[in-house]
């Protein structure tokens, strides 16, 4: 008897899944439109940049300090509209774990608006992302939390790719301590921060005599992550004469993890802990951690965009003109990314890129897809 019921249930389940399949698919079949890429040609002529090959590296985002206004919008190109319903084919991206949540949010919006293909977003770190994009050429887009290095550009050239840079946002590093920490309420200077993370100091009192005579429990992202590289470059190297990496990694009581949750747990669980990671992870754990001012400035959108907060870094995606031409879906996705990134970036916990940087990215896109 029970067996029969089971059989019936199983058959029902089969039937349901079988029916659900066709029900989900009609959307793409009703739209057998040509791909979106040709639309790019109808776009208003970009002002200059005769050869697309010259464009890529030129987009080194201008400093936000030069009084950004809303005026420069006219100088950047206007991107053609993308209809995600018309886009077919898969898109493969990989790279920075910091850019990952942002790409994920954009991809989700892309899907919501009708894109029916697959977008792969691998969160493997900036360096590995470039390795896949430039060395093996497996990916269409590389996500990066730093600008591409010369050596990586060379790798790309070797397989016939010329990376094109698109600035998509800004991330700030949050320096966090335990909520019970009552001696850092004034924040730290960059120099103090470097000392706190170096092998020269074991106890808090080694950095500042007024601080407790207790071991510093340090929590840092792993050595493969772009966040680690950025911290070394922005905090440790200036203080330790380019030997920042040795100073940090030689320190006692140091925990390194690629898993930001381990860092959050660690700092949340120890009064004498200090750590750093992307601002987004801090926002998710605001109730468990305390973020402290660096050089007297708290990270906020204003301080980050004004360049006052020292530990902010640009976020990029990279692709290649040829890839975008061969795979129109990649061009459409990047186009969509650039036009809608500011709708989702706040929810992810990053700061929007300065307007002129976004315009430069739009211009780079137009040049590359011309």
């Amino acid at each position: 008897m029970r067996f029969k019921v089971l059989v019936v249930l199983f058959a029902l389940a089969l039937a349901v899944t079988a029916c659900a399949q066709p029900a989900a698919t009609p959307a793409p079949t009703t739209a057998p439109e040509p791909t979106a890429a040709p639309a790019a040609t109808t776009a208003p002529e970009p002002t200059m940049a005769p050869e697309p090959t010259a464009a890529p590296a030129a987009t080194t985002a201008p400093e936000p300090t030069s009084a950004p206004t809303e005026a420069p919008a006219a100088s950047g190109g206007t991107l053609p509209e993308v209809n995600p319903l018309d886009v077919t084919g898969d898109i493969i991206t990989a790279g920075s774990s910091t850019v990952f949540p942002l790409s994920e949010a954009v991809a989700e919006k892309f899907r919501e608006e009708g894109y029916a293909g697959n977008i792969t977003i691998d969160s493997i770190g900036t360096g590995a992302g470039f390795e896949r994009f430039c060395k093996t050429g497996e990916t269409d887009v590389a996500n990066a939390s730093r600008a591409i290095k010369d050596s990586e550009v060379e790798n790309c050239a070797a397989i016939g790719r010329t990376p094109v840079e698109f600035r998509v946002g800004t991330d700030a590093l949050a320096v966090v301590v335990n909520p019970e920490n009552d001696w850092l309420s004034e924040g730290v200077t960059l120099e103090e921060l470097a000392k706190l993370f170096s092998k020269d100091s074991t106890n808090w009192s080694d950095v500042n005599a007024a601080w407790p005579n207790e071991p510093i429990k340090r929590f840092s992202p792993g050595t493969d992550s772009g966040t680690f590289d950025y911290f070394i470059e922005a905090v440790m190297d200036p203080a330790f004469d380019k030997k920042g990496e040795e100073a940090l990694l030689g320190a006692a009581n140091l925990q390194l993890s690629e898993d930001d949750n381990v860092l959050v747990q660690g700092v949340a669980g120890d009064k004498y802990a200090i750590g750093y990671f992307g601002f987004a992870y801090f926002l998710e754990n605001e109730d468990k951690l305390l973020d402290i001012a660096v050089e007297g400035v708290q990270p906020t959108e204003e301080t980050v965009n004004a360049g006052e907060y020292k530990l902010a870094r640009p976020l990029f995606i990279y692709s290649d003109a040829k890839v975008m031409q061969d795979k129109p879906q990649v061009a459409s996705f990047i186009n969509f990314y650039l036009t809608s990134v500011n709708d989702v970036i706040g929810g992810v916990g990053y700061f929007p890129a300065p307007a002129d940087a976004l315009d430069a990215a739009a211009q780079a896109f137009l040049d590359a897809t011309k």
């Binding site: 360096g127 590995a128 792993g222 030689g250 006692a252 660690g266 120890d270 004498y272």
Partner: protein
Amino acid sequence: MQGEITKPLITTQTAEGEIDLRAKKRPGEMIVQGFLFFCGAVSILTTVGIVFVLFEEALVFFRDPAVSLVEFFTKTMWQPKIGAFGIFPLLLATLLTSIIGMMVALPLGVAIAIYLSEYATPRNRSILKPVLEILAGVPTVVYGFFALSFVTPILRDAIGKDTVDLFNMASAGLVIGILILPLVASMSEDALSAVPRSLREAAYGLGATRLETALKIVVPAALSGLGAAFIVAISRAVGETMVVAIAAGSGPRNFASWGDAFKNLALFNPFKSGETMTGHIVRISGGDLSYNSIDYTSIFAIALMLFVITLTLNIISQQIVRRYRMRY
């Protein structure tokens, strides 16, 4: 008798003549045999392959000019990214967690085994054994979170938050003990049950109590089996990965020098966070290292070290069984 049975077979006559007594060719049998041989060979080849890769990559590591074999064994810091290759911090954490684990698993495991083989009524046995088996079936990742979110808070409340780190080796070690408990218990019980009943009856006959029989007759008689069980358990503890990766910490317990390590006997403090050899391999290989970096080949050197340790332990356990086995 045999002759009487076989003889008629040999001389059996049929209409066609004598039966051919040569082995019949059975292609099906040969295929099955070949397949079974292949299955056996797969496991051997896999082992050979693993050992080969380990040695090959470890050789690349030790050949690197940045690495010195002496420093590998004598330095007190492991941080491949800055060229610090001293295996000691990783080895230390592995030993500490394993020893703590064994301190839990040995006494408890043997006690359980004695109870099961000497005292338990069939009814109690039929309850306790399956429970132990369930314990053995829990995925190790669950044990890891059990350590981090249950054992660690208890330790921190009991001993003090300033003494006990959030990620600490003691908690991981205790849970490793629980993890290998079923293994110790069941192997020990096998050893105890293998002691012949006549020995126990002789002891009772001489007026020994149950406890005396168990501790003075059965346990010593099963000593070789128990020893083997312990050593297999140690190698299991040394190789345990998930628990230490989650609960013990994610940075090697580095010291600037041996002086620092021995200051206040800091190196023996299990309440600090540390990273075992297995934990380090997991963390490093989970990142995005490129294949040609020294960080990457360094994990093969650690793995080789681990392999040598467990292999030695297994050989010792076999020797114990062979040398000290008592035959009855």
